[in-house]
């Protein structure tokens, strides 16, 4: 396990943004697995066993909030670091993300460098906190 780079599952229906997030993931020193919608996340999470998930909130089909909630509900993925990306930055939207159990909520547009930094922090915090508590 330790020899493979940390893997981040990225879900966004916009190919351009997916690619942008991929750059940020790479810059954070991790490896990105890209999918286009929420259902694909749920399907891929078992096989890919990612170390973190980045979800766009508004995607066709199962949206990011619901995917997040479902991942939290599944014991296998309950502790997975999850970051939500959304164009909706008002308080209620951010709150909905927190309620669904997301660890971070990043508004669009985001800086690539900034996103990379936050990913690094997210994974590091989760790894430290999760390992200690469980």
């Amino acid at each position: 396990m330790t020899d493979r780079p940390l893997r981040v599952l990225v879900a966004d229906d916009e190919a351009d943004l997916r690619a942008l997030v991929e750059v940020a993931v790479r810059r954070a020193g991790m490896e990105a697995v890209l999918v286009a919608d929420g259902d694909a996340v749920l399907a891929a999470v078992a096989a890919e066993r990612p170390d973190a998930v980045v979800l766009d909130v508004s995607m066709p089909g199962t949206g990011g909030i619901e995917v997040c909630a479902r991942l939290r509900a599944d014991p296998a993925t309950a502790d997975l670091p999850i970051m939500l990306l959304s164009a909706a930055v008002h308080e209620a939207a951010v709150q909905a993300g927190a309620d669904a159990g997301a660890d971070a909520y990043v508004g669009k547009p985001f800086g690539v460098r900034d996103l990379a930094e936050r990913l690094r922090v997210l994974v590091a915090t989760r790894a430290a906190g999760g390992g200690g508590d469980d």
Binding site: E14, L17, A87, E91, A92, K108, P109, V112, R113
Partner: protein, 614 residues
């Protein structure tokens, strides 16, 4: 009613007489006109005079006899021809008095004390005595005595027997006069009482009639006002008006209610309860919200609550105490369709302070809800659909500018800088639109924390210093002497200051100056931040419009200064959310000052209050 009063002058109206009563009175000369009343006497006198022409009653002295006939003739003629009826009673009494005199003269002419005509005296005596008061009988008695006894005094040849007879006649006549007077006075008294009684009755009757008329008018008015109220209620077709008794049973149901609820007035009035129209769950939820202790129990709208069904209690809310109660509810029609409504509940005024019922005015808000839903959708669409491509633009710009392997030329870097600036401007616009929509929807709240005002202002000044330099505008910050800390939303406050400062720079021509001032007033409990420019100014008439969304001053559009008209409304919303105020003073061509005053408690006294929050 006779055309002349009877013997007595009745002071008031008289009772109508029956035919027999009238005939009897006429026979005694007590009824009719003065002339008619003299007829019985005149008839008797004519008969007497006729007798005296016969040998049976010889005329002993022709002169008095002739005088008496002439006198009676004159009297009858006078009563017939002269308007003596109009004379006062005392003056009219002269007639019977003269008649008594005439009888006396006749007796003198027909044997004096022996004359058989003494009895004629009765008729004028009765006439005199038959009236109110004692004057009539007195005069009658005196005259009778004179008339009966007079001849005896004149005729010394009378015998004691004749004298006794005359005296006896006089006494009988006197007694008759008194008796007649007493009877007449009593009868008249009784008649007066009856008249008075009938007048009382008349008055009462008139009063009753008047009352009835008044009642009729009042009833008419009442009906008119009821008709007016009904017609007003019926004319309201866009609102449902439902009136109930104090227990909620429907009494009034207008056409608007028929339309909104899909039932007829006949179906609604009398049997239905107003809570029948509502979605039951809402009523129960509201009741539980009002009475948290009831939470968890098995409730339905008809459950008995505080004297009323709980659903009705929930519906009334504050209206129960006479206060205003306006709330959104859902009506359920018989066909199962639901209608979102805003219901205003009013307690109906009653006389003795008790409830006479409640009025529910419901307005269909489905369109309102639909349009606010569309607006929300539109705003989130804008937010998403504009931010997503902007995310790509800005993200890839960053990648391009940051690409260390393939560095850009200075020129390329400058061009992409323009792209980035404009993308950011677009992003700011989207943010402003979204924020303005939130403000309007009342969904904007502050994330408060202790904030140093001076620091926030300084940050704004620093972030805009480059723009001031570019526009050749001098930017000055007058620092606050003391540190002022507020319980505020740092980001929003910064946004407001940025907006004001960027406006000031934008509207100031090259060579001008923008000054940011800070002052605190411990007494007034405010801290004031002023943004003064030497810019183009705002016409006074346009100042009140500055706070309207998308409004732009004519001086701004005239000089083609770019902007959306969203900045100031947002600034004001932020300032007001903090409990502050914002003022503008401006002179066209000289400059403008915006002053933001925020509430503040000096830290020296109760500084904690400024930063304390729940």
């Amino acid at each position: 009613m006779t055309d002349a009063p009877p013997t007595v002058a009745a002071p008031r109206e008289e009772l109508p007489l029956t035919a027999r009563q009238s005939l009897a009175l006429r026979m005694f000369g007590l009824e009719g006109s003065l002339f008619q009343r003299q007829l019985p006497f005149a008839t008797g006198f004519v008969v007497a005079a006729a007798f005296s022409l016969t040998p049976a009653v010889p005329v002993t002295d022709p002169l008095p006899a002739l005088l008496s006939v002439v006198l009676v003739g004159l009297l009858v003629a006078a009563t017939l021809l002269l308007p003596l009826d109009r004379l006062p009673p005392a003056a009219r009494d002269v007639i019977p008095v003269l008649e008594i005199v005439a009888v006396a003269l006749l007796r003198m002419g027909t044997g004096g004390a022996e004359s058989p005509f003494t009895v004629l005296t009765f008729l004028p005596v009765v006439q005199l005595a038959g009236q109110r008061g004692r004057r009539g009988p007195t005069v009658a008695i005196v005259l009778t005595l004179l008339g009966v006894l007079g001849p005896w005094f004149l005729d010394s040849g009378a015998t004691p027997i004749e004298l006794a007879r005359a005296a006896f006649v006089a006494v009988v006549v006197s007694i008759t006069a008194v008796a007649v007077n007493v009877l007449v006075v009593r009868a008249l008294g009784r008649a007066d009482a009856v008249v008075a009684l009938s007048q009382v009755q008349e008055t009462l009757l008139a009063q009753t009639r008047e009352d009835a008329a008044r009642l009729r008018v009042a009833t008419q008015r009442l009906r008119e006002s009821r008709d007016l109220a009904n017609s007003v209620i019926d004319a309201v077709t866009e609102q449902a008006i439902v009136g109930t008794d104090p227990l909620g049973v429907v009494q009034v149901f207008n056409p608007g209610a028929e339309r909104l609820l899909g039932i007829t007035r006949l179906e609604a009035v009398g049997g239905r309860h107003v809570i029948d129209f509502h979605a039951p769950a809402e009523l129960v939820d509201r009741y539980v919200a009002m009475h948290p202790e009831a939470a968890g129990s098995l409730l339905e709208p008809r459950s008995p609550g505080d004297g009323l069904p709980i659903g009705f209690e929930a519906l009334l809310g504050a209206a129960r105490t006479g206060a205003a109660e306006v709330r959104d509810w859902t009506y359920v029609r018989p066909d199962g369709r639901t209608v979102p409504v805003s219901v205003a509940v009013t307690r109906r005024a009653a006389h003795a302070g008790e409830d006479s019922g409640y009025i529910f005015v419901a307005t269909d808000i489905s369109q309102q809800q639909e349009s606010s839903r569309l607006k929300d959708e539109f705003v989130s669409l804008i937010s998403h659909e504009l931010r997503t491509p902007l995310s790509s633009i800005l993200g890839y710009l960053e990648l391009t500018l940051d690409d260390e392997e393939n560095p850009l030329s200075a020129e390329q870097r400058e061009y992409l800088g323009v792209v980035e600036r404009n993308a950011n401007r677009l992003l700011a616009l989207v943010g402003d639109l979204l924020f303005a929509a939130q403000v309007e929807a009342g969904r904007f709240s502050l994330a408060r924390s202790p904030v140093s005002v001076g620091a926030v202002v300084a940050e704004s000044v620093e972030s805009l210093r480059q723009r001031a330099v570019t526009g050749d505008v001098e930017l000055r910050l007058e620092p606050l002497a003391e540190e002022v800390e507020l319980d505020a939303d740092r980001v929003r406050l910064g946004q407001a200051f940025d907006n004001l400062l960027s406006n000031a720079i934008k509207f100031t021509p090259p060579g001008g100056a923008v000054t940011v001032g800070l002052s605190s007033d411990a007494a007034a409990g405010t801290v004031t931040i002023t943004f003064t420019d030497t810019g183009i100014g705002i016409p006074e008439a346009e100042i009140p419009h500055l706070w309207e969304r998308f409004f732009r001053a004519s001086t701004a559009t005239g000089k083609a200064v770019p902007g959306t008209g969203l900045g100031l409304p947002i600034v004001r919303a932020i300032v007001q959310a903090h409990g502050g105020t914002i003022d503008v003073r401006s002179t066209v061509g000289e400059g403008t000052t915006f002053a933001v005053a925020l509430p503040w408690s000096p830290s020296g006294t109760d500084g904690d209050a400024a930063v304390t929050r729940p």
